[in-house]
Amino acid sequence: MQVERVDDDRGLALCAAEDGSKSTVEIALVDVAPGDRVLVHAGVALAELTA
């Protein structure tokens, strides 16, 4: 999923899937910024994807 917006205070991010659907994701385990791509499992971003 791609990070669209980050809420640092709550440790959450709005992320968009490739099909356009959006969901709120817990980001306590990764450092991410808008535009980053993350691997999300059970509502939590586990890893940032790197080239």
Binding site: L29, A42, G43, L46, A47, L49, T50
Partner: protein, 371 residues
């Protein structure tokens, strides 16, 4: 789609298949276990198996989180769900896993308030919206899912949500692999390592496989080219006389794992002395429970659970499928009495289960069709 399309390129797939064909020794039979149910699903969805030479056999491992939950554990969940005032939450796959007297889905049909969630955070949200009800989350899964549960329990504690608790059935991947490697039933030549678990734990915990058992392992991603490349890398190790842990999935998996995830898991969970696995029996230090600091959020402390061990139905051979001893189609009830619509065994329930993968992608044939 970035990170996906480039790993589904048919032309590159044919190149890898050709390289694999060139790398195998004629007359030698290779048996590789893909540990993760996600790999099993991809292998049959994309026909990876058909691109392999006939003497390269893939054996399906115990890495499907739903498949390894024993019937007695389902009964425990149903017992809690039937308590007055309880809202019982779980992932969708878990709803259909048969217990000794039925599934959570059937208990729901009989009146229990059981709700499907996509994340433990959804369960916590339900608890906040229903302060007069007890909300229990049935936590299952390997180290991939455990951080999500751990973070949710931390939030529940920090935000003071007294009506939320967790029935923890998380398991860890290393002990069953060791049990399989110690099993005389199975002779394996190498492993396709679990990609998503490794995102959390890293590749280092698998170093015991080459060190203690002399088998190569390559941690792999889930697209068809990931899996083909991992098989190519295992074959290269065998051809070179090497035996080590390699990381094909480096775009996601750091060798040391996710430090923050490991820290939150260490804070919230502790190892159980032993845990029952479907088909594999009791394995020492293979399951997680809530640590002392989080015991007040432990549903098994808050509620009375039967905790009875229930034997699998005699017709079901999930245990042998999970150990890679038989292929799904060799099970007596595969595709007849046991189907995804009416599963008898757990391996037919989840899309990551080997039986469901075979069934859904039409692998009823006794012989592989090798192209």
């Amino acid at each position: 789609m970035r990170y996906v399309d480039e790993f589904r390129d048919p032309e590159l797939g044919r190149v890898l298949a050709t390289e694999i064909l060139a790398a195998v020794e004629p007359g030698r039979h290779y048996k590789f276990m893909e540990v993760c149910g996600g790999h099993t699903h991809s292998i049959y969805k994309y026909g990876v198996d058909d691109l392999l030479p006939a003497n390269v056999e893939l054996v399906h491992g115990p890495g499907c989180p739903v498949c390894v939950i024993p019937m007695g554990r389902v009964d425990d969940g149903i017992a809690i769900a039937r308590e007055p005032g309880v809202i019982f939450t779980c992932f969708g796959d878990m709803m259909r896993v048969p217990g000794s007297t039925g599934s959570l889905l059937e208990a729901k049909a009989e009146g229990a308030d059981i709700r499907m969630v996509y994340s433990p955070l959804d369960a916590l949200r339900i608890a906040k919206h229903n302060p007069d009800r007890e909300v229990v989350f049935f936590a299952i899964g390997f180290e991939t899912t455990a951080p999500s549960t751990a973070l949710t329990l931390k939030r529940a504690k920090a935000e003071g949500v007294p009506n939320f608790s967790c029935m923890c059935s998380h398991v860890t991947i290393v002990p069953p692999l060791r049990a399989l490697l110690d099993s005389p039933d199975l002779r394996l030549d190498g492993f396709v390592g679990p990609g998503h678990v490794s995102t959390v734990v890293g590749a280092r915990p698998f170093e015991f496989i080459p060190a203690d058992y002399g088998k190569p392992i390559v941690v792999a991603g889930f697209e068809p080219l990931d899996i083909l490349q991992a098989i190519r890398m295992i074959l290269a190790q065998l051809a070179d006389g090497r035996c080590e842990v390699e990381n094909q999935y480096s775009r996601v998996v750091p060798y040391e794992g996710n430090r923050r995830a490991l820290e939150v898991m260490a804070e919230v969970f502790e190892l159980r002395p032993h845990f029952e696995w479907r088909g594999l029996g009791f394995i020492s230090q293979s399951g997680l429970k809530l640590s002392e600091a989080y015991a007040d959020l432990d549903a098994e402390v808050r509620f009375s659970v039967p905790g009875v061990r229930v034997a699998d139905p005699k017709a079901c051979q999930c245990g042998e499928v999970l150990k890679g001893v038989i292929k799904p189609w060799e099970c007596k009830v595969f595709g007849t009495a046991c189907t995804p619509e009416r599963p008898i065994g757990t391996c037919m329930v989840s899309s990551e289960g080997a039986c469901a993968a075979y069934y859904n992608f039409g692998r009823f044939a006794r012989e592989r069709e090798v192209v």
